[in-house]
Symmetry: C2
Subunit: 429 residues, 2 copies
């Protein structure tokens, strides 16, 4: 079939009629599919059920150094879990702080601390007239929600397959002391799946911020979340690169095991320089006596070491790789020749980013919803929920079973076709 834009009005009207009939058919199928969030499927969760067996009343709950994990204390996390998560994050155990179950919580608390108390002796952000963050777009809605909640002005920075537009980043960061941070998902980014190129990371480490308390919020959420065994993206380690460039304190790096073991019951962590770490622990000691060490121990006993975790991630990949491939295949089959949008083909992570014709994203998501398919809200990938082109849609393929996903992507493609055809027709009038 030829691209819709090359069709005559009659051809397109005829096509639209067919599509609408097909859509009605779908509406009658009583579909209930949720692809709104990047959630692991039940099959993936089952991979970690063994973690429920490693601790029981017959085994001791003591660390290697003799600490009783059941009792209070150990603010930065037990040593063996800092080794494991350090290997995962490619940082030394001494650079790591282990938190509770949510890296989002760590990021929120990091912004909240800067807001109420400032970073390393700098003025608390709540005492400043203006605080701004750079936000590569499309990006992660929950990042943007945190900065919006704290009244931080967000400036969108376009993403490309090599990362954010570094010319813009360098200009903003070096010229405006109100720019205090940038949200980054540097590997298999949410939602594009892009990974920052070596040049991008090197330019990040070489930033010369106008603000002393500028920090890169480096959310390496998908560091070990590859789809393939050899065909993998690789990221230059940012803390090391910053240290080499004489800016050791410029990065807060976040990660968790939420999409490795259980999303509700994993372990979150922050890696940063000794100065930042001391600054953070000085606050953290007022907030808690320590996080859940039994769960830390459970993770260590389950994985053994980083090799165990890598092998575990291959099992995740075996489950979700076909899903990513199904999305690409279905989109290619259904709309590939019609020139109604483009989408990314990541080697890892949890998302595929779809760009429709301008002005169609909201309508596509609405149309899908009315047929029983819940997608991430259009606009969610932009600060303030406002996508200026109304074109970006985040596709989250992991949660539904493969068969449901196929149906969902067919329905999605149908919605793309209908909304695009309507738009093209309206422009012909």
């Amino acid at each position: 079939m030829k691209p819709y834009a090359q069709m005559t009005k009659d051809e397109l009207t005829h096509e639209l009629k067919k599509l609408r009939a097909e859509y009605h058919h779908h509406q009658n199928m009583d579909i209930h599919l949720d692809m709104s969030r990047g959630k692991p499927s039940q099959e993936q969760l089952d991979l970690s059920m063994g973690m429920m067996d490693v601790l029981n009343s017959e085994v001791d709950l003591f660390c290697e150094d003799g600490t009783d994990c059941r009792n209070y204390g150990v603010l930065s996390g037990i040593h063996e879990v800092r080794v494991l998560i350090g290997d995962m994050m490619e940082n030394a155990p001494d650079n790591i702080i282990i938190y509770g179950n949510s890296s989002l919580n760590v990021m929120y608390d990091t912004v909240a601390r800067a807001y109420s108390h400032g970073i390393m002796g700098n003025t608390p952000w709540c005492k400043l007239d203006r605080v701004k963050f750079l936000c590569p777009v499309p990006g992660y809605d929950r990042h943007f929600a945190i900065t919006e909640y704290f009244g931080i002005e967000m400036i969108p920075i376009p993403m490309s397959p090599t990362g954010p537009d570094m010319d813009m980043v360098e200009k903003f960061v070096s010229e405006d002391p109100a720019i205090k941070g940038i949200w980054c998902v540097p590997k298999y980014a949410n939602p594009t799946g892009y990974s920052y190129s070596d040049e991008t990371v090197r330019r990040f480490a070489r930033l010369k911020p106008a603000a002393h308390d500028f920090r890169i919020f480096w959310d390496n959420a998908y560091g070990v979340h590859h789809l393939y065994d050899v065909k993998q993206d690789y990221l230059i380690e940012i803390l090391a690169e910053c240290k080499r460039c004489g800016h050791p304190d410029m990065v807060y790096k976040f990660a968790s095991t939420s999409k490795i073991t259980f999303p509700g019951s994993g372990i979150a962590a922050l890696a940063t320089s000794p100065n930042n770490r001391e600054d953070i622990l000085d606050q953290l000691k007022h907030q808690t006596i320590g996080h859940d060490k039994v769960n830390q121990l459970r993770h260590v006993r389950f994985f053994g070491d980083i090799h165990g975790m890598v092998e575990h991630m291959k099992k995740h990949a075996d489950i979700i790789r076909p899903k990513f491939e199904t999305v690409d295949q279905t989109l290619t089959e259904e709309i590939g020749e019609l020139e109604l949008g483009s989408w990314t083909k990541p080697l890892g992570g949890y998302f595929i980013s779809f760009d429709s014709l301008p002005g169609c994203a909201k309508a596509i998501v609405d149309k899908a919803l009315k047929a029983g398919l819940i997608l991430t809200s259009a606009g969610a990938t932009w600060p303030y929920g406002k996508d200026p082109l109304d074109s970006n849609i985040r596709i989250a393929p992991t949660y539904p079973p493969l068969e449901d996903l196929k149906k969902a992507m067919k329905l999605f493609s149908l919605c793309v076709k209908i909304v695009s055809a309507e738009k093209l027709l309206s422009e012909m009038k």
Copy 2:
């Protein structure tokens, strides 16, 4: 033996010589005892080892409503744990928010939220020139550390066996709009072990605050932590009483299972009015997708219901009751007739409060430390660590084994005697 204050200078000098010899003997015994914090003993922790068995790879990890506890979501906690913790806190499940492993963290976050965003539409505290808290003394050092960290001015309010001086509380709260809160440990208080009388609770519920955003920070940390089965303190439920008095939004109530199951791996909770709860969840949704539901399920499956928890607490009581009695007994034997101090005799909780002769507390704690016994720092029970009389010492009897505790309390008594004798002698000169 007669009271030291009634001794002649010669008698007291002679006594002090004997005491010092005894102290040297202790110093040579290579003692290492830590009574600095209210930590459960290993024997107590062993009571909850069964909790490590209730979840394993053979059982399902689904809630009664079908929610998969392993995955993301359920911001306020799973229903069955809100029932269990609701029964523990004497509040309806719908009034409860379940958090992570630390009620201290919940309290910190509650202050932090008021500081950055304000309470229910009121001005954020960070935008005010002055914010003050009332602090019943002696009290809990970590409470005071939070308010100090946020630059909140702390006003000490004397405690009596019936609770804080309510005349003072009423006057401050009704007259000064800068008073935004009061820290309360209403039952088996830290460190006195006192429980608020019915009249005290009723007067709390009848407060007429000058500030719209005044809140009672009701840390009911020891609600079910009785030492005896029938001889128990009872506390009027504060949320219900406030509601009856037309002030439903005046209280944030905190609790946790830290001293019920495992201090590092329990469940913390907040109970409050529907308005407050909505206000809090509006913030919390930016901070996390949800807390650890697997651990919530683990607690529910372990206890079954509140009766299971109450039976469990009896086992704790059987372990710590003899420790509380040993402290009282040793102090009575060693210094009872000497009039060198007074101490409380709680029916529950984790602490005994000791008041030495004025000006002796710091020296007693120092002397104990030099012989190998670590106590809570003198002054810790006061805001800013400043006990104006230098007389209060918090005794935490739960952590050491009973035999060690006996030794520790003998050593403590010896230090009290030496420091008191030195003081009395110096006053004779």
